[in-house]
Assembly symmetry: D2
Homo-oligomer: 321 residues x 4
């Protein structure tokens, strides 16, 4: 896993499904605080769109008995890339199945990562068309700038928890052709966390060790804002609206992301993030490995990581968390 390779068969993370036991409050969070708009509803799910997402939806919010992450959709770089990926997965014993059941998405090939998170690979997509009241002033933007709350521009990344990091990292690298960019080493075991990119962003998919040994859980889903100031303002907005601020705003040492972590009312951890002008332009980036000693220094500007960051995941599990 130290040598990075990338197939570019996948273009980017398209959308993610979140489960919530408090659908009304969660919906209010995504629309009023994050500034997304409702673009559809099916059964227990509401579809939400961030203002500069070119596709039909960004988040599928599904009422459920508990919190957690559902399907994550990854868009292929082209139709041939998608079929190539499927061949590769099937050849390596990781076969999935085709479905065609999602709003705004054509046929999707569903596979589970080794930890049990469901991934949907797709090419065909419905381009978002803003309704008249959300039509942007500038035609190179998906919807009008909302001017409310945190104004998140787009989905940025998904950070899963996994009981065993190594096979999941292998799935991303070998199965999906993602490139490892940074990782946290442990003294004598597998990495404690791995950051992979599909794109020119420095990461799109992350695995952190699930200390409970559970499967299929979520650490957080992140949305990108245009500026760090948007994130500072989001902290004010969360404070005023009673949203639990877990930690931040501050800057990660790893990946140097400027961050704010909050818990949406359903319990899922949400990150607002900004990367400045940092991109992963190198096609042959040697992954950066952080040692436990380096990690002990805390975040970039010295903030110690708070305990819940290592213990809270969704859905919650009953191990004294």
């Amino acid at each position: 896993m130290t040598e990075s390779t990338r197939s570019r068969a996948l273009a980017h993370v398209g959308s993610v499904e979140l489960f919530t036991p408090t659908p009304d409050e969660s919906l209010e969070f995504f629309t009023a605080i994050l500034a997304m708009d409702r673009v559809g509803q099916r059964g227990d799910s509401v579809f939400l769109h961030a203002w500069d997402d070119y596709e039909r939806f960004t988040v599928k919010l599904t009422a459920a008995a508990t919190s957690g992450v559902g399907r994550t959709y990854l868009r292929a770089a082209g139709p041939d890339s998608l079929s190539g990926l499927v061949d590769r997965l099937e050849a390596t014993g990781r076969a999935g199945r085709w479905v065609d059941d999602e709003l705004g998405i054509g046929a999707a090939y569903l596979v589970d990562d080794p930890d049990g998170h469901e991934i949907g690979l797709y090419w065909e997509t419905e381009r978002y068309v803003a309704p008249p009241e959300l039509r942007p002033a500038l035609k190179n933007q998906a919807a009008r700038f909302p001017g409310r709350g945190a104004n998140v521009r787009r989905l940025d990344h998904v950070n899963y928890l996994a009981a065993d990091i190594a096979p999941n990292a292998g799935f991303l690298a070998d199965g999906l052709g993602a490139m490892l960019t940074e990782q946290i080493a442990t003294v004598d075991g597998p990495p404690a966390a791995v950051w992979f990119t599909l794109s020119d962003k420095t990461y799109d998919l992350v695995y952190s060790a699930d200390w409970t040994g559970s499967h299929g859980r979520l650490h957080h889903v992140a949305f990108a804002t245009d500026t760090r100031e948007d994130i500072l303002r989001a902290a004010d907005v969360c404070l005023e609206n009673g949203i639990h601020i877990e930690t931040g705003p501050h800057k990660h040492a790893i990946q140097q992301t400027f961050f704010l972590y909050v818990w949406e009312p359903g319990g899922n951890r949400i990150e607002l993030c900004n990367a400045g002008a940092r991109l992963m332009l190198a096609p042959d980036w040697p992954a950066v490995t952080w040692t436990p000693e380096e990690r002990a220094k805390g975040q970039a500007w010295g903030l110690q990581t708070i305990p819940t960051f290592h213990t809270h995941g969704t859905p919650p599990v009953d191990v004294g968390e």
Copy 2:
């Protein structure tokens, strides 16, 4: 040129050479104002490195009789991509030649675009290693954050002037596999300007019409800052240091870039730019075409484009500019 395709054979713009008739003053601009560091010298050229460039150098500043742009280096996505590109160029009658003469770069295949700008395609590169006094506190960063002037993080894009846009756009699309993302249409002629991307940035290479009919000239070279605030501060710094501010800070309607244009002492136009969280994630982006009527509205917030933006290029030509 309306249908976008991308081969991803090229990864990103690597570096660019600028000519200057005032080498000392230009060097002072790039080091004190833009916050680059000197990393080498050969003959009449000084090599400069922006603080988060993973390669050996970002700008090659060459003393010359006049201003303008020299070689632009584009890094391939891999060794096979590079040989594939060369085959493609030679098959389409746009053959170049191999050289191996540049600091920090392996073998490069040189081709001229139809307008005469020299392009160097390469794969092998020397990774930048910071000297002790510039070693960064965070190991995932190339050099330490300078904390001076405009603190530009990396090269962003090159905007050429071309007497005839169409063949150059064709060269980028068909020869290099770049994807057209936005363009300015004219009433009944070829586009007045075209924006192409190699990466997930919304553009890397741009052609604007050269009203003088000259060849091989430069409109501007742009460097990315982490924040819009960095650009506002850069305007203060340029003001204090007598650097000519041509226009901005403001926001482009096209590509929505937050910009500041200044003229470095040698006469070349330099842009400082910030894109926020805007990226070109869609692999099948339908190019946005701006009409003359839309252009007449000025920049995003209504600023009228100043006349020199349409007339000044480097090197200067004697047509009453």
Copy 3:
């Protein structure tokens, strides 16, 4: 007028009345774009409160046949200061009259400046108490942070037009004890504009020459935002909402204010401003005088002042403006 003196008898600008021929649209502008809240209504007037104003209201928006400025309220530094001011005004032949007719304000002494703008001096004021739904999370703040539009924090200054600057400047300096901080000189006449402060802000009240020779008109009313980023975002919000952006965002050379000028739907010019950490701490500041040559350089970063900035005032007058 070159020697500055200040009595500190007045503490700050309290509120201002604006007339609008389009009350519904103007109300929408002040609530949705500037993020003020309605706090009262009387007759044709709606009272609006900016989120950190400690007093009952910030703007009184009055439906009228045309646009323009009504009464400006200035709060005294104390009850004795107010009576001292009244004595001073009456002693210098500028007697006014006491009224007690305003929402949230006790007895006010009304005087007209020489150009005819109505000024109300008062001490007693009703402290703003947020209703439950607007109660702030932090008790040292008047109302909760709105998280919408431009999020203006408070009223900043009022800039009047006056047919003859000198007597109005004299009224501020001698009548009200304000301190001149900056001014624009003309070649051989009276100043073209004067900036006066009552507080530690660098200006609170401004007069600009009214080229039409009219009386009692308004150049603009300004509201302060916490950051320059708020102003950049406000420009996006105005763009999306069809609000006319006259000029900016940019930085004034005079007073160094970061600004955005828009016209509210009723026609009145509104400035959003940010001063950074710049304050007028010196009690003996020698006024800065800008020459016509210095003014010709444009704004701080070189932007040329647009013609309407010199011609548009409210109410409009029929002289070919």
Copy 4:
């Protein structure tokens, strides 16, 4: 102490003296990181000027056996205000003495606060005149914008430690006419900290309880930056330069200041602060009192106050700190 009154006899904090056992390293910190310039030297003291201070110097840095705070200078609002203050102090048994020994300052009346911090009251001051190489482009600014490090604009406030808060608060309110704006209450004792203003800033002088029972010590000296972004950048700069970041960037609940606390090499705690557009315009502000329960919530966005913030002061004392 619950009723606030203000005489406005003092205008603002003028400058402060800091002692350092590591004068060379401290000087480097103030010049390279905070971006001050040397403006004089006398004996073991170097005088430093922040770029928009209208007076001769901002900080007097004095080599000494240990760290701590020396004289704090407060500028009077006028010559009569100064003599009135002196009369008041002498009448209340708090007599001091006149000296005339400081660079750039005329006669100063020295008094000790009850805890033993030396305060110098003065009116006559030498206006800072920038040398040619530091002359600003805009004439309403003291020196040119440095464009390096944290770019602090001016001194903001001094926060003393005091063994017994009450008499020192009484000294500020009754002796100097300062106005209490916020305070931290204890369950059944005197306040744990008090914030007083002389100006329209929300605070200029602060006392925090010295848990060691020592006298004359310093909690921190604060400098204002124009933006929060300047503070975020300062954190990067401190990180790169090995400056100890104690806590932040974050936002205080009390006074809502956006802050970064670092320890300069001599050990003194330095705050970089930004207040946005928050000002103390009300002349009759009822002081805000924070209860221990409210304090337990941490800073504005939930950050818990780190232990050293309550234990570290300068000079250090030998009580197991």
